[in-house]
Symmetry: C2
Subunit: 464 residues, 2 copies
């Protein structure tokens, strides 16, 4: 970057107010880290646009001057996506946080990228509607679209990509496009919705999202089911899915993680491999699904099932599950968390989780296995002392083993956290020749490689 | 194309058997038309590969010599997708028709592109499974993926793109890639699955597909519900969807179309606007859904409901619906069918269908309105005498009016038939600046513009 920061700031202030452009150290530090263990790096400038035309002008300045740009939501990413290792400009979307329109009849909502999922759900509740994707963190919807986030409800409602009808995107050169429309399906043109969702800020900045929402189900029941081993629990899930039961959530929490939960959330759950489940639907259908699920789980050695139909008990159960990562962090002060994120075909899940548990015990670090087992996606959580090169090396080697185990079985290195910088070293192994297709698309749409450079794909040289 | 056909044939016969390469007039004619009214144009050469390496070699020859290539399944497309207007080589995938693997536990199946959907469903039945996408025609799965096909079951199970876990694709230069993996979800890299599905042969040739399949539901009930007006019927559907009832199919058939059905399928249905519906699921849940749906339909003036629970009656009902296009063709010998295919947000559907009905009556050609109304997608079927310039002009103007009505309401010009050549003139109006993004992607992946050239995007000049 040959242009001075002062020059860039001046160019930005041509169309932004003074308080929309910051070079303040504290502000820059807030934009130099995410929630992961990845190294910190500060942007030179942080900007706070209020509308798409400002984002377009920011991109024009950046493209003309070849300045790297990183779009930023809440910084809750887990693989360093929003850390500006090449410095430059971070675009913070917190001022673009309006819910533009709830289209009740169409089961659609139009939002700005800085709206968070709890903010949206609070508004939707007034209409008897809800937004389904729940990654745990209260991320922004722009950020969730950028990483193709998913979570506990994905087994029934799908990932972020499944919810996106349309995106307004500002491209590298400042052009504003729409990637879709408001119809429920389309066979018109290439599927740009799908391409931009999960592009992690490397192809454009989202300035508006139109998302699917759902009616709040008539009935919801949650349950906690205890198993003798992780393998029994996972095999029960496989059988439930094969039976075609439309389960709304099914989460595995292993013994060590239940221990952390009990400690942090003041619960008294049996410290054994456990499934947290949820069913929703109409009353009679749900009852039949629940009965069938109970039978299947008992066939797989389930030792105890506790159902929770009232709202408070259900909320407590899911809060306990969602606070799990914080429980580990809280219980291991001074350590950082590394989270693996592979996803495997469901037939390979029991083997993969058993393998992860065994490897976890072998390295002797505090950690546990939890997962969205209905999708074949699980996380091994590992607490590491970043000042101990030995612990860091052990954790890295562990992550690598888990990833290769998944890739050898036609799985993926990341089920929901995304590539960022953490999963970049596995992209060639996972995608093979297809990685070159991704590189070509990146270069075609961002020829100066300014949009979140070196995330997902690494453009080695621009031949200049 | 400066190379002689003889030279190309010789190059192809370096790695293909004699009977895999044809310049026979009859064979070429079979590959020069689809099921639509679009003009005929013959390929120079038709090839019949047996495996991916042969497809790769064909692409290398074509790319070196800059020969256009069109991938071909069964020729059941409706917008001229597979008609080789630039001549060249047509790759017929009928010899690549193996079901490679049924992964029962993973609810996945791996197939070659020439497998048809009824062939697949026949095999899957042995496992208690089914493949959900049903466009009516017995298309190949490769073709269905190429156009992002959908149909009657999409309201519950989704479009073709939702079923694709992985594609093996041969690119323009012969490189073989995989676009996905076998895990239920992934946030790794750009979403190439989504990009290649619906690319209509313009980005690559599919040589293998891994698709989601489902367990055959415990219970299925079909129904036929008669309404006083099309508007009443559509409004009933909107209410059913808003109530969150997971209906498996919901099809609108207007009066004229019921008349054609009765004539062709020897049924005796009331010749009034009608909904064909299907529900599936567990017995008690389904019963509750059916009761609730009945109430909603009665609130919207439903005059008669006939339920069909036994298999034969259900099959008869859906056969009648699926044979509708043939009923029109059969009943109008010497005429060709034009089918509109817009999809609108569900809140705009009643207005759009009413508008289409009114316009249809105004032009005075035989035709009717049917549709996958649960998705907001409907078809106006029009029978035209292709030798009458007046009828053709009327039909074209009608199609254009319907498309613009949809685009003005944030809909799409094609819900499921695809762009081909028929919907190309609306691409700029629908996609705006995003069309240039599509052009850039096309040129990045197929720099010589040999893959199904001038379909979806028109590359005006390659600057040579």
């Amino acid at each position: 970057m040959s242009t001075s920061i002062e020059t860039i700031v001046l160019a930005l202030k041509e169309f932004l107010e003074d308080d929309q452009v910051s070079v303040n150290q504290t502000i820059r530090e807030l934009h130099g880290r995410d929630e992961s263990y990845h190294d910190i790096s500060l942007p030179d400038i942080v900007v706070f646009p209020r509308k798409n035309s400002e984002v377009s002008n920011i991109m024009k300045v950046a493209n003309d001057l070849k300045i790297p740009v990183v779009p930023f939501g809440r910084g809750s990413s887990l693989e360093g996506h929003i850390i500006p290792y090449d410095k430059g400009i971070t675009i913070d979307f917190s001022l673009m946080d309006k819910i533009i329109e709830v289209r009740e009849k169409d089961l659609l909502v139009k939002v700005q990228p800085g709206v968070t999922r709890t903010q949206l759900n609070k508004e939707l509740k007034k209409y008897g509607l809800f937004f389904s994707v729940d990654p745990g963190a209260d991320a922004t919807l722009g950020g969730m679209a950028a990483t193709n986030a998913s979570g506990t409800t994905t087994v029934k409602y799908g990932v972020m990509r499944d919810q996106v009808r349309d995106l307004e995107v500002v491209l590298a050169d400042g052009t504003i496009i729409h990637t879709g429309n408001l119809a429920a399906k389309s066979s018109s043109g290439y599927h740009l919705n799908g391409l931009f969702v999960g592009s992690e800020g490397t192809l454009g900045c989202f300035t508006e999202l139109t998302l699917k929402v759902y009616g709040i189900p008539e009935f919801t029941t949650a349950a906690r089911a205890v198993f003798p081993t992780v393998q029994n629990a996972v095999e029960a899930v496989t059988s439930i899915l094969q039976a075609g039961i439309p389960i709304a959530r099914v989460e595995l929490v292993d013994e060590e993680s239940i221990r952390q939960v009990n400690h942090f959330s003041d619960t008294n759950y049996a410290e054994r491999p456990t499934l947290f489940l949820e069913f929703d639907g109409n009353e009679s259908g749900l009852q039949q699904d629940v009965e069938f699920t109970k039978e299947i789980m008992e066939d797989h050695g389930c030792e105890e099932i506790q159902f929770e139909t009232d709202n408070t008990a259900r909320t407590k159960l899911w809060d306990a599950r969602h606070n799990l990562a914080y429980a580990y962090i809280h219980g291991n002060v001074g350590k950082k968390m590394m989270v693996t994120d592979v996803c495997v075909p469901i037939s390979e899940l029991a083997g993969a989780v058993t393998f992860a548990r065994k490897e976890l015990e072998a390295i002797g670090l505090t950690g546990g296995v939890v997962g969205h087992v209905g999708d074949g996606n699980f996380h091994a959580l590992l607490m590491i002392d970043m000042n101990s090169p030995e612990e860091v090396a052990k954790a890295d080697a562990f992550n690598e083993k888990i990833v290769h185990y998944a890739l050898e079985r036609d799985g993926t290195c990341t089920g929901e956290h995304g590539v960022g910088v953490g999963k970049q070293k596995y992209q060639a192994a996972e995608h093979g020749e297809a990685l070159h297709v991704m590189e070509k698309i990146k270069l075609a749409l961002d020829p100066n490689n300014i949009l979140n450079p070196n995330k997902i794909v690494k453009i080695e040289s621009l031949g200049e």
